[in-house]
Symmetry: C2
Subunit: 340 residues, 2 copies
DNA sequence: GCATGGAGCGGAACCGGTTCCGTACCAGCA
DNA sequence: TGCTGGTACGGAACCGGTTCCGCTCCATGC
């Protein structure tokens, strides 16, 4: 099909290209109803579709939001990305997703690429944020919202959950079952970041243990945030001489790996080992036993992030206004912790 | 930071904007080494970054590939999307991902949106493809490659696996263990499509059963392609009066749901129930017991799809050249089928 | 010595829209 | 009737690049 431009439409409707533009965008200038109808008829007849690239070029705007996540294959990030996509669609925007794979330079790569495409805003759910990225963002004068994470380097606008508090809830709950202590499976921090939610989970664990006057030394273990690596680490830990009575994992995905390792070793959960996670991914309800975890409202958070980035997303490295939107987290009790 | 255009660069380097362009794109016109260096110095000094939108506008090309999947949260699609992203990155392209959520109109929506953004090609891994979508693609004269699926409406360029043959392998393998028959958990087809790989899995099951002269009537069950729905269906099926001795699932995700249901019902796998899936998602190695399945080379398929779409992706609804790239599938034997 | 040709570059058209500016036209009012 | 003001619209500049066209300059060949 031959390319149809707005010129063709204007010609057929007997008007100017400007008017066609106003009809398509509903203003801002008044258009006589009769003209409007002629234009619309012409558009339909020719099967005209405006060229988004040209629109973006001329208007210096796009309908795009960039989203950067570490790895969308992990359930938490996948679900978060999906929620952002939904929220964006509700506002007529499309989402570009980039997976950083936890590599800082890939993150900067996507940052650059997205900004070059003139996305109208950026949402970062990222582990690898560093000064390099901050500089990039600053140079482009971009609207950015941090979702779920809040590294130090960049901390103006963020949508986060109460990670420390949520973790405390979970650990306290485990302690109430009378376990002498609760071990913690934290993440492996390539770049230790203040504001990393997962390390905040570790912090929550630490606080809950301290409240109960239980020492934490030697009870913190580490694994990458996914089930596969957590499985390997758990196999060693649980088969070793100091198997903990209970373990709090900083992500559900890790907890799933731990459950799998326990089964492998014929350790009964929750009778011989209590397990809790964090995130309440969909799968947590279908593990065996179902996983006790801490839920966050991903849908609401995604919506908030989209709203913020579109309405008043800030330049990240500019004024330190500290606009942080905090969402509560709540404990979801299932069988893996020994209740019922 | 003030916007820097190539004009500024040209001025600083004492040359024309055209030359700047040739330097950035490495040709096609020769540029004297000295000039090239002056331009590069100017670019660096000014921190100039070309505007992708303007580039796309002027060159009528983009570095974008559109990818439409049903739901990237499902492991298979998530892994496929990741593979495509990798393959595209190797060729310097970026991927726009759209989730159709199995809804045909959302698919057309993304199709339209992506084409409006002048993606240089489209890769469809989609269930909902229909004539509507085909018309849209045709209207835009787009380059399209179908990955993993091959609906009738659109069948020129496709990258697929040997779904029927792979399923036969798995079912034959199950039969060799002496089970009187193998049940099949197929998909729920909103729109029955010839070329739907998952229904091809069912077809493979049917053929393998026929080879062995075993009737298939009443032995085909249906569930949506994810573990959650499959779990529900399996609970009923396995608790009912006609529990099959073995079951072949059309996707691994479904098989995971079946395994979970079996555990819930205290049915031992593989002793009391043999299970096999299809796809060999990463998680299949970590189920309990590990899942026997049929593997396809997603990395190679994704790469092939990217190559096809960039090099000689065809207009889908044009000539019926039937360019189909078939990849073999192979059986991966793990414990869930009773071996070892 | 002069035609030939290719390398290197500047100028300008162009991609397909948006948006500013100016004007024609008509109604309302003095 | 003449002036004012607002409505509807046409013309054209502009967004920031790419790419075509043609010019200059210099080396080469006869």
């Amino acid at each position: 099909m031959a390319k149809v431009t707005r010129d063709d439409v204007a010609r057929l409707a007997g008007t100017s290209t400007a008017v066609v533009s106003y009809v398509i965008n509903n203003g801002p200038r008044p258009v006589a109803p009769a003209t409007r109808e002629r234009v619309q008829a012409a558009i339909k007849e020719l099967g005209y579709r405006p060229d988004r690239v040209a629109q973006a070029m001329a208007s210096r705007r796009t309908e795009l939001i960039g989203l950067i996540v570490p790895d969308a294959r992990q359930p938490f990030f996948g679900e978060m990305a999906h929620a952002v996509e939904q929220a964006a669609a509700e506002r007529g925007k499309m989402v570009l997703v980039g997976n950083s794979d936890y590599v800082a330079e890939r993150e900067v790569h996507y940052l650059r690429a997205f900004l070059g495409m003139r996305v109208s805003g950026l949402i970062l759910v990222s582990h690898a944020l560093n000064d390099n990225a901050a500089a990039e963002i600053d140079a482009w004068d971009a609207r950015v919202v941090l979702l779920h994470e809040r590294p130090e380097a960049i901390d103006d606008v963020a949508v986060v959950t109460d990670d420390i508090g949520g973790a405390q809830l979970a650990v306290r709950h485990l302690l109430e079952h009378g376990h002498p202590y609760v071990a913690c499976l934290g993440g492996v921090a390539e770049t230790p970041l203040v504001g990393d939610p997962v390390s905040d989970h570790v912090e929550g664990w630490r606080r809950a243990m301290q409240e109960a006057r239980i020492p934490t030394e030697g009870r913190l273990f580490e694994a990458p945030y996914n089930r596969y690596d957590a499985y390997q680490v758990a196999l060693e830990l649980l088969a070793g001489p100091h198997r903990p009575p209970a373990i709090f994992c900083s992500t559900d995905d890790q907890a799933i790996g731990v459950l799998r390792a326990a089964r492998e070793l014929r350790i009964e959960v929750p009778e011989e080992l209590a397990v809790a996670g964090f995130d309440d991914v969909k799968e947590a309800a279908l593990t065996d036993p179902p996983l006790t975890t801490v839920a966050t409202d991903r849908t609401a958070m995604a919506r908030a992030a989209v709203d913020l980035v579109l309405d008043d997303g800030l330049r990240v490295a500019g004024s330190r206004r500290e606009r942080v939107k905090l969402f509560p987290s709540r404990l979801v009790v299932r069988r893996s912790c020994g209740c019922r």
